[in-house]
């Protein structure tokens, strides 16, 4: 297909989308041609999903214009987008599980029938689309019975049934097995051959190289580059995706390490979708060392942290904290064994928004440390809370204010203070600086290093390569539920890490 002569099907010009505190899309221009598979590549937070939500009418941009088939359009809601012929398959499927495939496809369309439900047309369409694109699925199966890959096919059929000429897919392969990925690639190719335009969002280099005709790399809300896939390579894309000036790890002093604070062997666990999220993960962290676990969100990090901390059951494998096996222990027991956890979601899981700041500080220790004769020792609590607020620079008018009044940075400092003040043997920190400003980020880093100096083992799970490279003594990379790389920090470089994070062989 000679793309240089075809007029773009979709043309985004100068799109600006702001959210409180951040510019998610900063004057982005992107054009998509009919008959091409166009990949949108970037790390988490680069602005890919936001941009596509703008195209699909879920968000309205502050500035910029959208052109469809050469005409300027305003998309006030997904209904407008669907009417034009733009369809989207989200990361979280918009299906109704107890209904059948045909019912899901036909829901909300006139083809439903005025009164009596008529799934005949849907069935015919499904069969037809199955033949044309290889999207085979049983129209009478209930959606909850389908595999995730099949459910995705239903979502694609839904869009095609409504006449989509442009199909957007958000991280479509993150929930698929390798065979299903190949199947999807074929579907997308066939759609492109028929003149449709496919945009897919991904962070996976290999797939981008395999399926797309062109790729646009986003970073920090801006377009870094748009290239023809045939003219680039995984390594180049990785560099574009991730590349920035490195903050050197000058702060980190070499440090003698102690015994194993955390030892994990052969962990297998299911994710929320019922697929295997951890496929045999083994790693260890010594006392006094920071091990960085690099990887793009969604490759098993969250599940790993949850299994280590006792919030998710593992199907196989063992966990030791210090010398104690805790594979079957409750969260409380692991806390007693010396484990501390700073979770990814500080508002939803790491703290209780409607409790006061003081009450949040004693979450894990209210019984063990601050109870006397069946009553909470208010004086000891107050003293401890003041200490933490002071030591960890938590800015708040008073410790009796509710936790929800704290800014993100202060909340994170509070959580960190709470966990570290127990002098844990092992600390798991998941995406600890996500969403924090520079000052708070610096502070968290200093604290993690200080903990390391005090002999705490730290597992730093982060998708921020700068962070990992400057703080960690050893770096591991996780991809699709497995550890795919390990190296001493001194030997690590951005390019290699980027490749590993994208699933390529280094």
């Amino acid at each position: 297909m000679d793309s240089s002569e075809a007029a773009p099907l979709v043309d985004l010009r100068g799109i600006v989308k702001r959210f409180p505190g951040v510019v998610a899309n900063d004057h982005i221009s992107l054009s998509v041609l009919p008959g091409e598979v166009h990949a949108l590549l970037g790390e988490n937070g680069a602005g890919k999903t936001t941009l596509m939500n703008v195209l699909y009418g879920l968000y309205q941009p502050e500035e910029g214009e959208i052109f469809y088939r050469g005409r300027a359009v305003r998309l006030a809601s997904p209904r407008d987008a669907i009417r034009l012929g733009i369809g989207m398959v989200h990361q979280h499927f918009m299906l109704v599980p107890p209904l059948t495939v045909a019912e899901n496809v036909v829901l909300g369309t006139p083809a439903c029938g005025r009164v009596i439900l008529d799934v005949a047309r849907a069935r015919r369409s499904i069969a037809d689309l199955g033949d044309r694109y290889g999207l085979t699925v049983n129209p009478d199966a209930s959606v909850w019975q389908l595999s995730v890959g099949e459910q995705q096919r239903v979502e694609i059929i839904k869009a095609l049934f409504r006449g989509a000429e442009v199909l957007i897919l958000d991280e479509p392969t993150s929930v698929l097995t390798p065979q299903e990925v190949e199947g999807l690639a074929q579907v997308l190719r066939r759609m492109a051959e028929e003149g449709k335009a496919v945009i897919f969002i991904s962070h996976k280099l290999r797939e981008v190289m395999a399926v797309s005709h062109r790729v646009t790399v986003l970073r920090g809300g801006r377009v870094v580059s748009t290239l023809a896939t045939s003219e680039t390579s995984e390594a180049k894309l990785a560099a574009l995706m991730v590349g920035r000036e490195l903050v050197t790890g000058a702060r980190r002093q070499p440090h003698p390490v102690g015994a194993k604070a955390l030892n994990v062997q052969g962990l297998q666990a299911l994710g929320d979708q019922g697929l295997l999220a951890l496929k045999g993960v083994s790693l260890w962290v010594n006392e006094g060392e920071i091990v960085g676990l690099a990887g793009v969100s969604g490759n098993g990090q969250r599940e790993l942290a949850e299994v280590v901390c006792g919030l998710r059951k593992a199907m196989a494998g063992h966990v030791w904290i210090g010398g104690d096996e805790v594979s079957r222990a409750s969260p409380a027991e692991r806390i007693r064994a010396g484990l501390a956890y700073v979770p990814e979601e500080r508002k939803r899981i790491g703290s209780i928004a409607d409790f006061s700041i003081a009450e949040n500080v004693i979450l894990e220790t209210h019984q063990s440390t601050f109870s006397r004769w069946g009553l909470l020792d208010q004086r000891a609590i107050d003293a401890h809370v003041s200490e933490i607020l002071r030591d960890y620079d938590v800015r708040t008018p008073g410790s009796h204010n509710l936790a929800r009044t704290l800014s993100g940075g202060n909340l994170q400092k509070l959580i960190l203070g709470r966990e570290l003040s127990r002098h844990p043997r092992m600390l798991v920190a998941a995406q600890p600086t996500r969403g924090l400003d520079v000052g708070a980020t610096e502070y968290v880093h200093e604290r993690l290093l200080a903990a390391r100096e005090q002999g705490t083992g730290v597992l730093l799970i982060s998708e921020d390569l700068d962070e990992v490279m400057s703080l960690a003594d050893r770096i591991l990379v996780i991809y699709e539920g497995k550890i795919v790389g390990e190296m001493a920090s001194a030997e690590a470089d951005v390019a290699t890490l980027g490749l590993l994070m994208g699933g390529a062989r280094a």
Binding site: C309, L311, S330, P331, A332, I335, Y341, P343, R348, I349, G350, S351, I352, A353, D354, F355, E359, I362, L363, E364, H366, Q367, F370, S371, G374, L375, L376, Q378
Partner: protein
Amino acid sequence: MSVLGLRLEKRPSPSPALRALAPVATAVLALAASGVLIRAAGGDPFEAMAAIGVGAFGNLQNFGETMVKAAALILVGLGMIVAFRTQVANIGGEGQIIMGAIAGTWLGLTLIDVHPAVLFALVILISFAAGAFWGAIAGWLKARLQLNEVIVTIMLNYLAIYTLNWLVRGPMRAPGLAGGFPQSEALAQAAWWPRLAGTRMHVGVLLALALAILVTVFLTKTPWGYRLRAVGANAQAARYGGILVGRTILLAMVISGGLAGIAGAGEIYGLHHRLLDGISSGYGYTGIVVALLGKLNPYATVLAGIFFAALAVGMEAMQRSLGTPFALIASIQGLVVLMMLLADVLVEYRIRKA
């Protein structure tokens, strides 16, 4: 996306004054609504209000009547506070009251030669235990099997009602009683809870007030109370922090049921002195309304309990003296609930045209 052409718009900063005012406004609106209904019934609202006021507080006797009702409502309401603050909807107050009443009566009829003070203590314990057991069934089913506690507690209510029904007509029926009323033997007078100030007010009133303080201390100053509130506020975070959520839910139902059980004992030992049908008289449901009006705060619930009791007693008196129809009470309760919900929404949101 709106049916009535209305939508809710969040207020940027709801004022705390407004929030505190909401229950008071609700109570005032409830009185106003009573006035409207009384007028509809052909009575004079102001006369009626006066009659209600006098009926509830006019003299010591009436005040005693009000406080007696209030005691039961407060006890049940306190139990509801414990449950609802843990995010467990205990609709089973009726059944828990009944079980407490049954257990208490049985003990009193069995232990004849026991010092009244000792009996008092034992009755409190056993009625608490019986109500706690009844509540624990639902609590355990929720903790272990995630069964909806609303349905289970309602089913348990009827199981308790029919059990009582059977007991007072069968095994616990007073022998050879004239008129064949279904009721148990009367408790020995020595066992009756002492009355205060020559009214019908019994020791249970003091107990209710004391428990209000105890429940407050329990919730705010003990580790168990901390855990209950944590689970109610954010069960996931509580779990992350090492709290055993299932056990906490069970504890909430145990305490909630137990307090209702004590209310049941109070109705027997303080008022009726024998087991009868209908001993719970809807307190199980009214207690929920009282706790909600009191915004799940023990001290405010005491006031709410007195308010409802006054309304009930006053309306009965009004009906007697003015001959106007009664059966207003349940309607007012329903209106209070709905108006309170509306007030809560208005504190947080403005209602706008869509």
